[in-house]
């Protein structure tokens, strides 16, 4: 098993390198330069050019990329053009906010989504099933920011009971986390339902029933354990993608999270920050991927067998 884990971690390195190459290439295509971005409109062209030289902005692409890779291997991810601070310091300031949002919404979404998904699978075509499927599809069709606006109009402007900005107080969390949680729950309901339906039809469920096993145990032990694999994948992946993906929510509720941080960095062509951010998010993504795969092994012995082979 450990051999497998080490193999997977080693595999992450080429992927991260590949990501660095691709993002570096794309970012080099973006117009504008760091000198102008830092010195702003007032600065003279000479001053801008001098600063760009310092950053090695005018070096040929391969040289720039080479230097960058060497720096990374030395663990130096460089300094943000804009704030002149090491990139990870700024990122780490923003990380807790996004982490709080993602984890909270994931928890609530899972707590709501999975049980409803199970119930609507067990009582297929019941009122609950039809309504929960409709609800899940409806939520999946609503643009997050539109829902955000509507809630702000409703709760912040008219009823004035919830703050519409940031996460100063716990009240600030209600709307952003609420929206993300419903979205999470919606996708989990549909997934759990189809996954459970798939399992309920299996022969071993009928065997269990023929053994006189209680319905509750059939649903929550026999069926759910088997249906967990696709669910674990989605939950694991949505955590990984959540870190970079909360941009829209952050924009609507003016939350200084990783999403807006990356968005501004890309906008202002702050290459060191973009590179560090993408590598960081990709590393987390690959780690989540690995954890999910290991969970497969735990959940399904057949897969575990493949790992230790």
């Amino acid at each position: 098993m450990y051999k497998y884990v080490i193999k997977r971690i080693l595999l992450m390195i080429p992927i991260l390198l590949g990501i660095t190459l691709i993002v570096f290439f794309i970012m080099s295509l973006t117009p504008g330069d760091p000198g102008r971005m830092i010195l702003g409109q007032g600065a003279t062209q000479e001053a801008v050019d001098k600063l760009n030289d310092e950053f090695g902005f005018y070096d040929p692409l391969p040289l720039k990329f080479g230097n960058y890779i060497i720096d990374i291997l030395k663990g130096d991810f460089g300094v943000s053009y804009r704030t002149q601070r090491p990139v990870f310091d700024d990122l780490m300031v923003r990380l807790p906010t996004t982490l709080k949002l993602v984890i909270l919404s994931l928890l609530i979404g899972t707590i709501i989504g999975i049980p409803i998904g199970i119930l609507s699978a067990v009582k297929q075509y019941s009122a609950l099933d039809v309504f929960s499927t409709f609800f899940a599809l409806l939520i999946a069709s609503i643009p997050t920011f539109w829902l955000g606006f509507m809630l702000i109009i409703l709760f912040s402007l008219n009823l004035e009971i919830l703050p519409s900005t940031g996460l100063e107080s716990w009240k600030g969390y209600i709307m952003p986390v609420g929206i993300m949680a419903i979205g999470q729950a919606a996708s989990l309901i549909r997934l759990t339902r189809s996954s459970m339906l798939e399992v309920i039809r299996q022969d071993y469920i009928r065997t269990a029933r023929a053994k006189g096993v209680y319905e509750k145990i059939i649903v929550f032990k026999h069926s759910l354990r088997n249906a967990l694999i696709p669910i674990v994948t989605v939950v694991g992946m949505s955590f990984a993608r959540g870190l970079g993906g909360t941009l829209i929510i952050e924009k609507v509720f003016a939350i200084q999270g990783v999403g807006t941080f990356m968005f501004d960095a890309i906008g202002t062509k702050d290459i060191p920050v973009v590179m560090a951010g993408v590598i960081f998010l990709a590393a987390i993504f690959s780690l989540c991927n690995l954890i999910v795969d290991l969970l497969y092994g735990y959940l399904d012995p057949r897969i575990k067998a493949q790992y230790s082979k």
Partner: protein, 300 residues
């Protein structure tokens, strides 16, 4: 000669019969799902609106022409959905916007499915080095959060419709490559592919005609769902300012344009939002219905 032709026609007829009956079967099952039927009807209406937008509303002097005295009016008899900050009728702009918004989803998914099948097919069918290379590249793209990848590409190529499409396509291809490869792997060793190989068909035909044709079901379902997803992400991108440039009235752009007037003229945000929801919801219904219809195991 004729005999050979007749035989060919006969085959064709046979195949036709088989295909129609298959389609009839799917249609028959789809019809049972009331939500899917509703989805189809409303989608047809939206598509008709998009096609005949020019007849319904004159583009130049209603949709684009500014008329400042009537700006920011709430919904009224004259303007059912009210007017925007340039005094243009929002209903008219939604009608024309449907053309862009709906086509974004379809175009992006069509292209990504094409490349997905191409890459996924090759990777799945040949395996070995090619498979490894293609899949590693796909992993790389999948590891970057989709929204950040799209933003970076749009920032690089510049804001505009075509660049938005390119960005969305690039973000979608890896997903489809993986889906098609998985399906191809499951179908690859089935007997009829062996048979096709045995009678000496060229690999290209085998991959596309036999293998991929048979994985149309999961691809079709997934494509429908991601048309809905693409429309949403295009609206999202417009919201953060990277979407369609004025004056063409795409729904997402209208939403982000109206954001500034949220308190004074909420109708500018509500109605385009509702149309996005309706379009995406209906596509999801159809997708859901298709999945049940195409997946025989999931019968009643």
């Amino acid at each position: 000669m004729t005999n050979k032709k007749n035989k060919k026609n006969k085959n064709k007829v046979l195949k036709e019969e088989k295909k129609t009956s298959q389609l009839k079967e799917i249609w028959f099952r789809l019809k049972k799902n009331k939500l899917a039927v509703m989805g189809l009807i409303i989608l047809l209406i939206l598509i008709l609106i998009a096609i005949f937008a020019d007849l319904i509303v004159d583009y130049d002097n209603v949709v684009v022409k500014t008329n400042m005295p009537e700006r920011l009016q709430p919904p009224s008899g004259k303007h059912w959905f009210g007017t925007d900050e340039f005094g243009r009728d929002i209903l008219a702009r939604i009608i024309h916007g449907s053309r862009v918004s709906l086509s974004i989803g379809v175009i992006v998914v069509a292209i990504s499915v094409f490349f997905g099948c191409l890459l996924g097919g090759i990777a799945g069918y040949y395996g070995g080095m090619i498979d490894n290379v293609i899949m590693r590249i796909a992993d790389i793209f999948l590891a970057i959060p989709a929204i950040l990848l799209t933003i970076t590409i749009v920032a690089a190529l510049g804001i505009g419709m075509t660049n938005l499409l390119i960005a969305l396509v690039i973000a979608n291809i890896p997903g489809y490559t993986r889906l098609v490869r998985a399906v191809v792997l499951s179908v690859k060793d089935v007997e009829y592919v062996e048979a096709a190989r045995a009678i000496g068909l060229r690999d290209g035909r085998i991959i596309f005609k036999h293998v991929i044709a048979n994985c149309m079901a999961p691809i079709l379902v997934n494509a429908t769902m991601s048309i809905a997803g693409t429309i949403l992400s295009a609206a999202g991108l417009s919201f953060i300012g990277l979407g369609i440039q004025p004056p063409n009235p795409e729904w997402g752009a209208m939403l982000s344009g109206g954001r500034q007037f949220l308190r004074v003229a909420p109708h500018m945000v509500i109605f385009p939002g509702i149309f996005i929801i309706i379009a995406v919801l209906m596509i999801n219904f159809v997708g859901d219905g298709l999945r049940d219809a195409l997946d025989p195991k999931l019968k009643d």
